[in-house]
């Protein structure tokens, strides 16, 4: 059913939090094209951060760098103020607690929903009994309201369900940092509400979440802090309100003065 989501500001000011992930001069060049160019930012533990920017701004490349699918040309990505994870392979990064979803849904098509969420549990608990794995996987599905469709093969599920399945799969890794690449793209209003609720619940349990999204209306009411990328560079950082009034962001993003978040 429709969940009522408060669009008001966050009332509770959370206590001071430690930096969980930090990039230092992170750059990626493709044969002269600077897809990501000396990006520096810090993400605190338990934060819900949005990354916006026009198409081709380097958002997905940034995600690829952070999860190890690309090796950075330059710079470091520091986890927990001590470990540089730049350039190590995706599965190692995932086991350190950073995982992601993809822009297009990428379920394991011929596996059913339950098997889809079982896969990420396996490397975490290699010696667990099968029934334990199954219970854990079912629980992952319950958190995203897919439990009743657990025996459906993924290729027959509708797009909205697949988005949530992707999310459940990523959550099953039990990550400390979760990177969501356009989680609301192509969803109807109701489905967006469901995904939004799921994200909010995960964040309230203490998970750090970074979202790349073009649907600004949803993003701005969801996140605490927004980073703005433009042509590979970080051009703005702040709360949604600050960003909405930042003239540099407005010109970069729209090229005009008018900027309506509705």
């Amino acid at each position: 059913m429709f969940m009522t989501v408060s669009t008001s500001e966050k009332q509770v000011t959370k206590p001071e939090r430690s930096v969980i992930i930090e990039t230092q001069n992170l750059s990626k060049h493709f044969e002269g094209l600077k897809a990501v160019d000396e990006v520096n930012f810090k993400i605190n533990a338990g934060e819900l951060v949005g990354i916006i920017g026009p198409n081709g701004a380097g958002k997905t490349t940034l995600f690829n760098l952070m999860t190890g699918f690309l090796k950075p040309t330059l710079g470091r990505i520091i986890l927990d103020n001590k470990k540089n994870i730049a350039g190590s392979s995706p599965h190692k990064i995932a086991n350190l607690g950073i995982t992601r979803t993809f822009q297009l849904v990428r379920p394991f098509k011929l596996l059913n929903a339950l098997e889809n969420t079982t896969v990420p549990h396996i490397p975490k608990s290699k010696l667990a009994r099968s029934s334990t794995l199954k219970n854990k996987a079912t629980w992952s599905l319950i958190t995203v309201d897919l439990a009743e469709k657990k025996n459906y093969p993924a290729f027959i599920l509708p797009h909205g369900d697949l988005k949530r399945l992707d999310f459940a799969r990523a959550m099953a890794v039990q990550p400390r940092v979760l990177l969501l690449d356009e989680p609301f793209a192509g969803l109807s209003v109701e489905e967006s509400f469901r995904v939004e609720r799921v994200i909010r619940e995960a964040n309230e349990k203490g998970m750090t979440i970074i979202i790349v999204e073009h649907k600004l209306k949803i993003l701005m009411r969801l996140v605490e802090r927004v980073l703005v990328l433009h042509q590979g560079q970080l051009i703005g950082e702040g709360t949604p309100k600050e960003i909405a009034n930042n003239p540099e962001v407005i010109t970069a993003y729209l090229g005009t003065e008018a900027f309506d978040f509705e």
Binding site: F30, E31, T60, N64, F69, L70, F102, Q103
Partner: protein, 461 residues
């Protein structure tokens, strides 16, 4: 964008500086090597010899151009239809044996017909006739009666002319068939109908006239026919067998592999009933470039004598490559082809017939393989004529294409010459390493640059 820009991208120097320099170095070395180093009695010595240098260079270029023909077909199909067709070798076998079959039928080599089972022969002869009937039915449903008559008259003139002059019924039949196929191909390509009729008539009139002059136009028709037959089989198989599995790389590979096996075993059943007793029959044939020059003919130019068949084969393969470039970059269908290679769905949205384009491109690619087979038939030494000769061909093509980069036509051509040169040069020194060294080069390049010399690097996501 000029014509040249499409063939050679303007920013290639910035992107591939080291590769271009390396290639230049390699080719300068290869071209100059045979002039300087000679295989003397006491090993390899430095000995300036103009004649054998030029000879080896021509051999190498000719080998390279043959590989280029094979690899271009393979690469073109991959680029446009995104299919890896392992049936390349099968079509090579098909082209070669189709030509052999036609030559036998027209009684060019009458002595080889003695041990041929009559009924089997009839069955084989029935095949093309059935094919024609099917095509006619298709044509009649599309064409209005007037164009249909136009297309039918051309074969009657050319075939009838040959029969009237020479009295060889079978030859006339096949020459007429070639005329018919020219017309039908034009129809398939949706050329203007006036031009189809003109082309058919031009061919129809020229064949008997050329024959009177002394040009071996029958052989020429047969050569054309075997190439077109190969292309037709490729197109039909693409249309009817690959339809349900078009989008799965692996299924396409499995089906095309099966096709190659089918062609191979058909040839094996028809031509080698006694478990390979007849292998010698094919090796002992005094093949010439059919009917144009004798096999042992030698052209002497500026005091340098070179086997004529090599030169003719070289010329023909160059002509084929040039025609292909014109086809791709100058015709309407070429535009459609390149559009499909960029984005299949977008091309379909603007009205390109995807199935037709992919079928046509596989026809062109496999037709080139058949053409290469027809050209290679001049050389009795290699490949040995047997039903399994397609596999080495396929492997050479794969080596060339992986070296040059998948889907890159220019890369394939350059890689073909690299492999041709290295093979000929190595075999001029020590023939037993002529297979190993080119493959070593391929493996080295694959380790250093897995996507090939000019291949596109796949981006993540």
């Amino acid at each position: 964008m000029s014509f040249l820009d499409k063939v050679i991208p303007p920013d290639i120097w910035q992107k591939e500086k080291w590769i271009i320099l390396g290639l230049l170095g390699f080719f300068i070395f290869c071209v100059s090597f045979p002039f300087i180093f000679q295989n003397t009695d006491s090993g390899i010595g430095i000995l300036l010899d103009l004649e054998s240098g030029i000879k080896l260079n021509i051999f190498a270029i000719q080998t390279g151009s043959l590989y280029a023909l094979l690899a271009i077909g393979f690469s073109l199909i991959y680029g446009v239809a995104k299919q890896l067709k392992l049936s390349l070798g099968g079509y090579f076998v098909l082209g070669a044996y189709c030509q052999f079959f036609l030559l036998e039928t027209v009684e060019i080599v009458p002595e080889f017909r003695t041990d041929f089972d009559g009924l089997m022969f009839l069955g084989l002869a029935l095949l093309p006739i059935v094919l024609i009937i099917v095509l006619l039915v298709f044509t009649y449903t599309i064409f209005s009666i007037r164009e249909f008559i136009f297309i039918l008259v051309a074969p009657i003139i050319s075939g009838g002319g040959i029969i009237a002059i020479d009295g060889n019924l079978v030859a006339g039949f096949y020459v007429g068939l070639a005329a018919l196929i020219i017309g039908l191909t034009g129809w398939y390509l949706e050329l203007p109908k006036r031009e189809i009729a003109l082309g058919s008539f031009f061919y129809a009139l020229s064949m008997p006239i050329l024959y009177i002059i002394g040009f071996p136009s029958i052989y020429f028709s047969l050569m054309l026919l075997s190439v077109v037959f190969t292309a037709c089989v490729a197109m039909i198989s693409d249309r009817y067998l690959l339809d349900t599995v078009r989008h799965s790389h692996i299924s396409v590979m499995i089906v095309t592999f099966a096709l190659a096996l089918i062609f191979q075993s058909i040839v094996q059943i028809v031509y080698f009933p006694q478990n390979g007793d007849n292998f010698t029959r094919f090796q002992s044939i005094d093949w010439s470039f059919p009917g144009i020059v004798p096999k042992t003919g030698i052209t002497t130019f500026l005091g340098i004598s070179i086997p004529t068949i090599r030169i003719i084969s070289l010329i023909f393969s160059l002509i084929a490559v040039i025609l292909l470039y014109i086809f791709i970059y100058r015709t309407k269908f070429g535009i459609a082809l390149r559009a499909v290679s960029q984005d299949e769905e977008a091309a379909a949205l603007v009205g390109v017939n995807i199935r037709k384009t992919t079928a046509l491109v596989s026809g062109v690619g496999m037709g080139l393989a058949g053409f290469a087979a027809v050209l290679t038939s001049s050389f009795s030494a290699r490949p040995l004529w047997n039903p399994f000769m397609g596999w080495p061909v396929l492997i050479w093509a794969i080596a060339v294409v992986t070296l040059g980069g998948m889907g890159s036509l220019g890369g394939s051509i350059i890689a073909a010459f690299i492999i041709g040169y290295s093979e000929i040069l190595v075999s001029s020194i020590n023939p037993s390493y002529s297979v190993a060294i080119p493959f070593l080069i391929v493996i080295l390049v694959m380790i250093l640059k897995p996507e090939g010399l000019f291949g596109e690097k796949k981006e993540v996501e």
